[in-house]
Amino acid sequence: MLKKILVANRGEVAVRIIRACQELGYDAVAVYSEADRMAPHVRMAQEAYAIGPAQATESYLRGDKIIEVAKKCGADGIHPGYGFLAENAGFAEAVIAAKRTWIGPPPQAIRLMGDKVAAREMMAKAGVPLVPGTGKSSQMTDDELLAAAQQISFPLLVKAAAGGGGKGMRNVAKAEDLPDAIRTARREAQASFGDDRVYLEKFIENARHIEIQILGDEHGNVIHLGERECSIQRRHQKLIEEAPSPVVDEDLRQKMGAIAVAAAKAVSYCSAGTMEFVLDKDRKFYFLEMNTRLQVEHPVTEMVTGVDIVKEMLRIASGRKLRYEQSDIQVKGWAIECRILAEDARNNFMPSIGRIIGLTTPTGPGVRLDSGIYFGSEVTPYYDSMLAKLIVLGETRGEAILRMRRALEEFRITGLATTIPLHIQLMNSTRFQAGQFDTGFLEHNFSFNQTPNLALVRVAAVAATLVAHQRNQQAILLHQGGPSPWRLYGRREAVDRRLR
């Protein structure tokens, strides 16, 4: 039976896990780097241990130090969150060897799914559809390739077996263009890699990224919690996720869910996991990879199914049976998550570092904020740029979008550039509203340039000018040695507050 959980992470996910521990009555133990002494996870946990300098390689990635802390404080379980050590099979084994409970999937499942080639073979055996193609290792003649192309169907990609970086790659729309494409791809591959072998793979047009959440226990029970739509991405990083997906109906959900469950059973999976798929415009789906951990976007699934995934992970890790059967899982309402990053969307997503000198967080009906920041916190270059996740639940997708826009407008972070303005414009975009997007949408079909209305611009001008004017007056008064009107005003406000 678990009593004390060490959380081997930081930021919003550490806070998320500590909350689950507290609801279950477990003590939570935080570990922290020198940069995170004042971070929320450190202050929220019952115990906190410093494990090293700011660099993650010297702190949050030091599995040895973390296990040492677990032994010292008597933590009986370790939850890795996501990122850092979450998909490190060696660390999972070390935790188990130290006689602590690993709150995650079995190490062999982590290792198998981490090897993409082995994972694809395993998935194919379990009956999971893969992107059709001839396979990378093939040594096929031109005639064999032409014959295989008919089976794969067009459009397709000719790829160099030794390739990478787009060299020796051709996108072919129709059969008559294939011989030329194979010839030029071979020539390019020979010149670039000294190897003219090429292979074919179906080109998935207008692909959407859809994933299925899985939960499994140690007793062989596996269920799925429906899908998440994660097609709003840039540089292959997800920015907005939602559940359900605007293009997945009940029939497709059950089909994808059943395959994900079968695949998880094939690798004796337990704990939480996610099967990622691409969905083409004819609603055919193909396996991409499996993430053997808690996922950043898990809250949208929690919102629409009512299942607390982190608490389930803790229960499963202590050997208990799943509390749900597949028929208990109903998707109700619509949830959307926006990742609030310290990045300047107007400046090519340039990371933004600095101190948060003002913070207003959104609240109200249907709003959930999973955050790792506070008023006064310093965003450093040592860790990723995610500040918080804003999640909303609406009765319908339309209500969820309007609610998200309202919550984004309430959310003010001062001192840094964030992705909040971009998210607002995405919520305003008619194509997003209509659910018409794929993984290329943000980079190719969306422009971040809606102009604010002139009335708002005027308010901003007046507000800034009033502050500048006060500064001027203050400078004059300061020169004369009297207290500034701002200071007097602040005192009066403080007195008022006390009297109220």
């Binding site: 090519n348 002139l454 007046v462 507000a463």
Partner: protein, 165 residues
């Protein structure tokens, strides 16, 4: 006191008299603003329209957050403008736009030349930091005035890389 306030390519003339009465582009408006104890937070009511504003100042630019929008506002008072000896006439955007490095990095490209005219949004400096190439754009139309760095230069945080006049 009279102020020239600039947001992007919009310019406002704002006068605030001794009684605190505000005139915007020649029109008297009823503007009242209060600062909260949380000092970057303000409540402003203009002609009975209420707005919550978050504002901070950096390098003479006010960053104003309003209804999810973010505005970079430059406020100049008339005296300072005159002292700066700017020759441009009224209605012309003035004041130098300064492109600084927000974090340490290495300059990998400067696609403009000194004296070159640029439009708002044109890329003027490319800086590599945190393993990413970051493009810096001209915040407004103007002329490249000073280039202080060259490709390959290492720059410190807040180093001035380029100015646009």
């Amino acid at each position: 006191m009279k102020y020239i306030t600039t947001i992007g390519n919009e310019q406002f003339t704002i006068d605030i008299n001794h009684e605190g009465q505000v005139t915007l582009n020649g029109e008297i408006i009823d503007a009242e603003m209060r600062q909260m104890l949380d000092t970057t937070m303000y409540s402003i009511i203009i002609d009975n329209k209420s707005h919550d504003v978050r504002m901070n100042e950096g390098d003479g630019v006010y960053i104003v957050q309003l209804d999810g929008e973010i505005f970079e506002v430059v406020v100049e008072d008339e005296r300072t403008r005159r002292l700066a000896g700017l020759k441009s006439g009224p209605g012309v955007v003035t004041g130098e736009a300064i492109i600084k490095a927000p974090m340490p990095g290495v300059v990998v490209g400067i696609p403009v030349k000194q004296g070159q005219e640029v439009k708002q949004g044109d890329i003027v400096v490319i800086l590599e930091s945190m393993k990413m190439q970051n493009e810096f754009k001209a915040p407004r139309d103007g002329t490249v005035h000073v280039i202080r760095v060259a490709p390959g230069d290492k720059v410190e945080q807040n180093a001035i890389m380029l100015t646009i006049a």
